[in-house]
């Protein structure tokens, strides 16, 4: 089906199911239960899962296939975002032109950066990309303020009157897709549960599925094979008379376009851009997402993106009051004791939990979260012979 088959098809169908049912799957707890804190099925976070998923999928095309570790990919996301918001401010509030421009600008910028950076490999390449991204960040924050809005960034303002949209005087434009506003939601209530199906989220999810499909095609194409050859032994490839540079540059630009697409979607969902989107920590975040999920695997980067965004948005909101509510059923002394134990790891301590999780995953699951999934699956599949399952899972990962 669709030119993909076997395992790839089942992975794709799985991702499609997960994406379409996300509003239900991510809200497993009734809204007034104590566990509702862990519900992630609200529009903003679902959109972020998907958008960062796209970003990570694109990054993985470069890093997972060619082994080139870019430390400046956030710059393409940022450039895409700026392009998209200017389109919305000037041309149309429809998100399509914005997203297209985001991809085009990110592609142009990544051609320049890629052409220069790919002259070097290994850590030298990483530092070159990092340098470009840091320069973009520093300039966007300061001297480019007239274009980028500087620290306060760009938003759609009451005075903005895009060419193709009819806005009433003083009305603030909203991002839409042929009249369908991104902020619109349908809310389904069933028993104690509440599910929000948001227009913006489904737009993102569909785009993500297309992006994911294209990534599978790239992974399985002769082009993808060529990129893998670059990773395993570039020198040998060069000796056979093949020039690998056009292939790596193509991979770089494709992943830059994915980043631009993610940037454009971010603006479409939440009409605001700030320069810290391009800071090196943002570039580092997508690297971490990819490695955490499982570099070189198809679904790994998406899992990694979801994991980090979940920690950032859910764990950081658990404060001491919430903890007290959870443990309220315990005797007072016990309650205070447990709150004291948990408190350093949640709320303002969410970074600590994140750091510990990074270490735990890389120590216990060398192939990232994907390997965790494989181990669980192999336990189910082989029953008692789970030890053997681990072995094969380990061997499979590098080949993916």
């Amino acid at each position: 089906m669709l030119g993909i088959k076997g395992k790839d098809l089942s992975v794709f169908l799985l991702v499609a199911m997960l994406a379409l049912l996300a509003p239900f799957l991510l809200n497993p707890f009734p809204v007034d239960s104590a566990m509702a804190q862990f519900n992630a099925g609200y529009p903003d976070l679902m959109q972020r899962f998907v958008i960062f998923g796209i970003f990570a999928i694109g990054f993985n095309i470069l890093f997972g296939l060619t082994g080139y570790l870019s430390f400046g990919h956030a710059a393409f996301l940022g450039v895409g975002s700026y392009a998209a918001i200017w389109m919305m401010k000037l041309v149309s509030l429809n998100i399509i032109p914005g997203i297209i421009m985001a991809i085009i600008f990110a592609a142009l910028f990544s051609v320049v950066v890629g052409y220069i950076s790919l002259r070097r490999s290994g850590i030298y390449f990483s530092i070159l990309t990092l340098a470009f991204a840091q320069m973009s960040y520093a300039l966007a924050y300061s001297v480019l303020t007239p274009i980028t809005g500087g620290e306060t960034g760009l938003q759609i303002k009451p005075g903005d009157d895009p060419l193709l949209s009819n806005l009433a005087e003083g009305e603030i434009g909203r991002a839409n897709l042929f009249g369908l506003e991104m902020g619109d939601s349908a809310i389904l209530r069933a028993g104690g549960w509440e599910f929000t199906m948001n227009v913006g989220y489904y737009v993102c999810a569909l785009v993500m599925l297309v992006a994911f499909y294209l990534a599978i095609r790239i992974f399985r194409s002769p082009f993808g094979m060529m990129l893998r050859a670059v990773k395993s032994n570039q020198q040998r490839m060069n000796y056979t008379g093949l020039n690998s540079r056009p292939y790596t540059l193509a991979a770089f630009v494709i992943s830059g376009m994915y980043a631009g697409l993610a940037g454009g979607l971010m603006v479409a969902m939440d009409t605001q851009v700030g320069p810290e989107r391009m800071f090196w920590t943002a570039s580092g975040e997508v690297v971490l997402m990819t490695i955490l999920g499982g570099a070189g695997t198809l679904i790994g980067p998406v899992l990694g993106a979801g994991f980090i965004k979940y920690m950032e948005n859910i764990v950081s909101k658990i404060n001491s009051t919430v903890l007290h509510e959870w443990f309220a059923f315990l005797p007072d002394g016990m309650e205070d004791f447990l709150v004291t134990i948990f408190y350093p790891f949640v709320g303002k301590g969410w970074h600590l939990t994140l750091g510990l999780m990074f270490m735990a995953v890389v120590i216990f699951l060398p192939g990232g979260l994907v390997e965790g999934g494989q181990r669980i699956a192999s336990i189910f599949r082989r029953g008692k012979k789970s030890g053997a399952g681990d072995e094969s899972a380990k061997q499979e990962t590098p080949a993916e």
Binding site: G122, S142, G355
Partner: protein
């Protein structure tokens, strides 16, 4: 000309810090092949050694002073350091005043211990893992170390002043025949520069003139062959890691009076020190030191008002711009070796 000298001087102390951090980083890179994203955190821990040590020696007990009141109108409690009790108020006060230099003695065992624990407990298991895994685990460790410091010391910078004797500035201008006040340079920065020079010299001497150093240098050049010769390189690498941690820690301790330590100062330096190492060339110790000073001085030049007026924003990007130019003209940085970290 005088402004030129001023900026060279400013570049020197900035460069000292870059060089010290990059030195440790490249040691770990070059010998162990590990991308250590926790190296900035080690620098930060060093700075906090100074904070912790000065807190330790100014540990106090409270006495209630009935003559004064606090902001709610209750009698005020006044802290009296134990040092005053033990050594008398005067000697006690000067010991507290000299907290930062004394903290060097405190930080060496602490940082060696930290480095040892890190290598044995964690890094050791990652020698054969891909660089990506090393990045993830050391980045995770850096976050954990940061958050622990934040939990105890908060996010606000903590002033750790230099001893009274080193406050104020030295008038270089008079010395060179300029008018007074043209070229001022704080004493502590002078101390920092000489301290850095001594540490860098010691590391080089150690690697140059000891058998241990010879093995390590051989290991940096060709790890496999050294292993084949039957030398237990891993054991030496533990020591090497502890030494690199110690250099980063020392850089941090002495830096505390220049920039007040806070929990994220390590991350601020991390990216820059990576740039320094790579510009210097992978696997080259002199390269790292040279690049550290070069970038420090260039950064200072770029911040001169005349330069910024000419090229707005150049002070924001100069380091990265120079890094790009150098890497494009010299494929392996200034003094890099072929084949190190190019995969």
């Amino acid at each position: 000309m005088d402004q030129f000298i001023v900026q060279v001087l400013n570049g020197l102390d900035k460069g000292s810090a870059y060089a010290l951090i990059a030195l440790g980083l490249t040691l770990i890179f070059g010998t162990l092949g590990v991308v250590n994203f926790a190296h900035g955190a080690l620098f930060m821990l060093g700075a906090f050694c100074a904070v912790i040590f000065s807190r330790l020696i100014s540990l106090s007990h409270e006495i209630v002073d009935e003559t004064r009141t606090d902001f709610l109108g209750n009698p005020m409690t006044v802290d009296v350091p134990y040092m005053h009790d033990i050594f008398g108020p005067e000697l006690g006060a000067s010991i507290i005043d000299w907290a930062v230099p004394l903290a060097i003695l405190f930080s060496i065992p602490v940082m060696i211990g930290v480095g040892f624990a890190m290598e044995r407990g964690l890094i050791k298991h990652f020698y054969k893992r891909p660089h990506a895994d090393q990045i993830l685990v050391t980045f995770g460790l850096a976050i954990v170390l940061q958050e622990i410091i934040k939990a105890f010391f908060g996010a606000n910078p903590i002033q750790t002043p230099a001893p009274e004797a080193f406050t104020g500035s030295f008038d270089f201008g008079v010395w060179l025949g300029y008018d007074p006040l043209t070229i001022m340079y704080p004493y502590w920065r002078l101390v920092y520069f000489f301290f850095a020079a001594v540490v860098i010299g010691a590391v080089f001497a150690f690697l140059q003139f000891t058998t241990f150093g010879m093995v390590v240098r051989a290991g940096m050049a060709d790890r496999e062959t050294v292993g084949l010769l039957g030398i237990d390189i891993d054991k030496r690498f533990t020591l090497m890691f502890a030494m690199a941690a110690c250099v980063a820690g020392l850089a941090g301790v002495m830096y505390a009076p220049i920039v007040a330590p806070n929990y994220h100062m390590g991350m601020d330096f991390l990216v820059l020190s990576f740039v320094v190492v790579v510009v210097g060339g992978m696997g080259s110790l002199p390269g790292a030191v040279f690049a550290g000073f070069l970038l420090g001085i260039l950064e200072s030049f770029a911040s001169m008002p005349a330069v910024v007026d000419l090229l707005p924003g150049i002070n924001q990007i100069v380091i990265y711009l120079v890094a790009i130019i150098i890497l494009l003209t010299r494929p392996r940085g200034l003094m890099g070796r072929k084949g190190v970290m190019e995969e």
